[in-house]
């Protein structure tokens, strides 16, 4: 990528919605999109969320005035490195399969004493209303950066979640007859200009599933896997999915089976 040759060269990353060069040929469009992504990659605003998440992790809060530093994300109390890489998984203390966000909710409730309704009240940030969950998820995910996804599929409840997730993946419903498979069932397809991974193909799943959570430029915020599913259902003309619902975790277990061994690149950067 060429830089300007002035002594005080300035390259301002303009996170604009428009593409730098719109050419007729599809190949050129694709190349320009890639170049735009490379320009953005150096300054991922997810860094800001990671930093805030670390602060939230270490700050005592809630009625119990405790930090989250004793939170057990699957590898033991307070173990951060590699924990995200092994989610979702079964937890004996809650006797259910949980993903990252569901587990963060558990820790906020049990360790910090925060009311469950309060802990799930604002999962997705809006302008002027930042979400703690997005920052915490960014921080914890970042602690598994570069590691291979290895979500377990051994415990009977993990296996059940997989079977449920599988059914949900193919479940067609609503006025548009959409299921997850409607968009995510074939290789090499895209919706408008957004490429779609075939989620039951490890080749695609390993590359894409592991980029969540990610800073979404169009959203101006880090968005998590819970938001991704919520957003999918929005487009599928379904109602709002409950935050950390059993359906969401079942779908994540299903997807993780195909995404396992993929390298975790979270928090990522997307349109």
């Amino acid at each position: 990528m060429p830089f300007h040759r002035l002594p005080a060269a300035v390259l301002v990353g303009v996170l604009a919605a428009t593409l730098p060069c719109i050419c007729a040929a599809q190949q050129d469009t694709q190349k320009e999109i890639e170049r735009y992504r490379q320009l953005l990659a150096e300054g991922n605003p997810a860094d800001l969320f990671e930093a805030r998440g670390e602060e939230l992790w270490k700050t005592p809060r809630g009625p119990k005035k405790a930090s989250l530093e004793q939170c057990d994300l699957g590898l033991g109390a307070g173990v951060l490195k590699g924990a995200f890489a092994q989610l979702p998984r079964y937890f004996a203390d809650t006797d259910r399969v949980q993903d990252l966000e569901s587990r963060l909710v558990t820790c906020r409730v049990t360790l910090q004493g925060i009311d469950p309704a309060e802990a799930t009240r604002n999962p997705f940030s809006a302008p002027g209303r930042p979400s703690d969950m997005e920052a915490l998820a960014s921080f914890v995910a970042g602690q598994s950066r570069g590691m291979k996804l290895a979500a377990p599929l051994r415990h009977e409840k993990e296996l059940e979640a997989f079977r449920v997730g599988e059914q949900l993946f193919y479940r067609r419903a609503g006025p548009h007859d959409f299921a997850c498979v409607s968009c995510h069932g074939e290789n090499g397809k895209r919706i408008r200009l957004q490429e779609l991974p075939k989620l039951t193909d490890p080749h695609d799943a390993q590359k894409i599933f592991t980029t969540w959570p990610a800073y979404r430029v169009s959203q101006g915020s880090v968005r998590t896997m819970q938001h991704r599913l919520y957003d999918c259902y929005w487009q599928m003309r379904h109602p709002q999915m409950d935050y950390t619902s059993e359906a969401s975790i079942a779908l994540e277990v299903f997807m993780a089976k195909y995404a396992n061994s993929g390298e975790i690149q979270a928090p990522g950067l997307k349109r």
């Binding site: 005080a8 301002v12 990353g13 996170l15 605003p45 800001l48």
Partner: protein, 105 residues
């Protein structure tokens, strides 16, 4: 005060290479909220980068710069261990200043 900037400054040959990510809403003043009301403009207007008391970069920004701006630039004359200070002022008069130490490379 806004969230701290994330700054990385390192040597690249004989120049100092700086990458800075700023946390700012950068509202253009043209966006409407859910109720249809215009969200007031709130954006960084001036950015100044100093090193050893000298200004090495000065920028005047407008509403075309997006949310959470990222800037990447190089300047001559810095050495490892020295400080680079980045400051911004926005149209509401809010300001933020952070510094970073230049690493070896």
């Amino acid at each position: 005060m806004a969230d701290p900037m994330r700054i990385r400054a390192s040597m690249a040959g004989d120049k100092v290479e700086v990458r800075v990510l700023m946390s700012h809403e950068m509202e253009t003043g043209l966006r409407k909220d859910a109720s249809g009301a215009l969200v007031p403009a709130h954006f960084i207007q001036n950015v100044t980068v100093t090193h050893a008391g000298k200004t090495v970069l000065s920028a005047q920004w407008g509403t075309s710069i997006s949310k959470n701006p990222f800037m990447h630039f190089r300047f001559k004359g810095g050495k490892p261990g020295e400080k680079v200070t980045i400051s911004w002022v926005d149209n509401k008069g809010e300001r933020r200043s952070d510094e970073a130490v230049i690493s070896g490379g």
